[in-house]
């Protein structure tokens, strides 16, 4: 009797866990399937190599927006990742318990909650207004600032998970503390930190709002950082709101491409960073 009850409880718990898993995965699968259904048919070679056509002409592509997104995300990561990691190192290794650390941690958490449109407006008034024109650089800065809190806090958490015995081992070898932090602690925590950076990257890759007032968008090619630049989310936003069926189709295709590119970028980084990991490393 007791064994049967135990078996039933076990079955119920397993069932609930499976159900929860399905609930978590279902939206992702649904979104992906719907994007493929709506967008795949509009994908063509032209989509990846051509710039948008003027209103009324059928066809054209988002090549400039794909390149623009890559550049904006590159600039954003160049700003967000180093600043975030440096902040995380300070919080976990040097500032523990200090007032400054508490202030930095609080600021990072607040920054994380700032709506992205506000971030766009802030960068607009800080960079675009003084410069007098929209620019890719200002868009990259907006994305970079949005990456900082996520990168910073995951770096801190991951560093704190490194056992103290590893730090002591390095110190006891006569390694200066700063060197031990960079060469030992940071390296030990690096898988988790890379995950944090990827999360931040994936999150800002789809951001539209901070780019509206900064990178602004561009219907033509542009690779110069001090001029307005197209970005996939911006282009999707504009096309989706337009009254033209052809543009709607391109917006769907753009959404599909955006998601696939994010998945590819994250997978690539994972692959590159997982090479050279030693047998039995933990």
């Amino acid at each position: 009797m007791r064994a049967r009850i135990r078996a039933l409880t076990d079955g119920a718990a397993t069932g609930l866990a499976v159900l929860a898993t399905v609930l978590v995965v279902a939206p992702l699968v649904a979104i992906f399937a719907y994007l493929i259904y709506k967008g795949a048919s509009s994908l063509s070679w032209a989509f990846f190599v051509e710039t948008p056509k003027p209103v009324g002409e059928v066809g054209g592509g988002m090549a400039n927006a794909i390149l623009g997104s890559a550049i904006l995300l590159g600039v954003g990561s160049l700003i967000g990742v180093p600043v975030g990691i440096a902040g995380g190192i300070f919080l976990a290794e040097f500032g523990r318990g200090t007032k400054l650390a508490n202030a930095v941690r609080f600021t990072a958490d607040v920054l994380n909650g700032v709506p992205s449109i506000v971030m766009g407006i802030a960068v607009y008034s800080l960079i675009v207004v003084p410069q007098g024109h929209f620019s890719a650089f200002s868009g990259g800065v907006a994305l970079g600032i949005m990456m900082v809190p996520t990168v910073c806090r995951t770096t801190e958490e991951m560093l704190l998970m490194v056992p103290n015995s590893v730090r002591e081992a390095a110190l006891a070898l006569g390694v200066p503390n700063w060197r031990s932090v960079l060469a030992i602690t940071l390296k030990t925590a690096s898988p988790g930190i890379i995950t944090g950076c990827m999360l931040a990257f994936a999150r800002v890759a789809g951001e539209t709002a901070p780019l509206i007032f900064t990178a602004f968008g561009n219907v033509g090619w542009n690779t110069r950082l001090n001029e307005p630049m197209a970005a996939l989310p911006l282009q999707i936003y504009v096309y989706a709101l337009s009254p033209y069926d052809d543009w709607h189709r391109l917006a769907w295709a753009g959404s599909l491409v955006l998601i696939v590119l994010i998945v590819l970028a994250v997978s690539l980084v994972r692959y590159v960073t997982s090479r050279g990991v030693l047998k039995g490393a933990s």
Binding site: A169, L171, G174, V175, T188, G280
Partner: protein, 252 residues
């Protein structure tokens, strides 16, 4: 070669907790000296004062003098430098988990700026041979992580890592307490061989271990050193009643 250690009026605190009180002690060069005593008696804190690791803990403080060789380590030299001369092996094996076996041993040298490959190769081999691990790992030096080894092997790897920076003193904080009997006896054999080249201070709460490996033994109780003498004398004819009570198993 090992050097002697002269400890005078050593006191240490964790915040307001006076963990080590008025220790005076001369540790002879090229011998193994054991420190015994019940848990919490301050023996670990004491050895951590000998390479200035104690002060890495927030709120920790030390007074008194420790002279190693001819250097007062709290006056004449920076903490990082004294730690290169005084190696340490911890209670739990703590290899660097993301590094290969080779890099673990070379870590102390590489992180202090040595980069000559031939010299490093030589030192890594010699250190692993000195820690009796070479034969077990020589084929996987650069392929396997230090964390992939067994507990006993990891501890010998940590000993090799400490030896690679060529210290004069080796501090061992209960190096075998987390290990099985076979690994423990390997570590003890090792201590026997190593004391020809290094001064060894070993903390243990295994009294038989102290009797097996050490020429001198100190008994710690409540942050004070009750008795320090030859291991024979401590275990057969201690002068202090508390030492006798401890070694005969009346407490602890």
């Amino acid at each position: 070669m090992g050097v002697g250690i002269e400890v005078t009026n050593l006191n240490a605190w964790y915040g307001a907790n006076h963990a080590i009180q008025d220790i005076n002690l001369n540790i002879p060069a090229n011998h193994a000296t054991a420190l015994i005593g019940p848990s919490g008696c301050g023996k670990s804190t004491f050895v951590r004062c000998l390479n200035r690791m104690h002060e890495t803990i927030p709120g920790a403080r030390v007074t008194g003098s420790v002279i190693i060789g001819d250097l007062d380590i709290y006056k004449d030299i920076k903490p990082v430098e004294i730690r290169r001369r005084v190696g340490m092996v911890f209670q739990r094996p703590n290899p660097f988990p993301t590094m290969s076996i080779y890099d673990n041993v070379a870590a102390g040298l590489k992180l202090n700026g040595y980069s000559n490959r031939h010299v490093l190769d030589e030192i890594v081999e010699r250190s692993l041979k000195n820690s009796a691990l070479w034969d077990e790992v020589k084929d996987n030096l650069k392929k396997e992580s230090g964390a992939s080894l067994s507990g006993g092997q990891q501890q010998r790897l940590c000993i090799a890592r400490a030896l690679a920076v060529d210290p004069e003193v080796l501090l061992m904080d209960e190096p075998a307490s987390a290990l099985d009997p076979v690994s423990t006896s390997k570590i003890e054999d090792l201590i026997f061989q190593l004391k020809a080249q290094y001064t060894i201070v070993i903390v243990t709460h295994n009294m038989q271990q102290a009797a097996r490996v050490a020429e001198k033994t100190g008994f710690f109780l409540n942050g004070r050193m009750v008795e320090f003498d030859s291991t024979d004398k401590i275990f057969t004819n201690p002068s202090d009643k508390r030492t006798e009570d401890y070694i005969t198993g009346r407490f602890g």
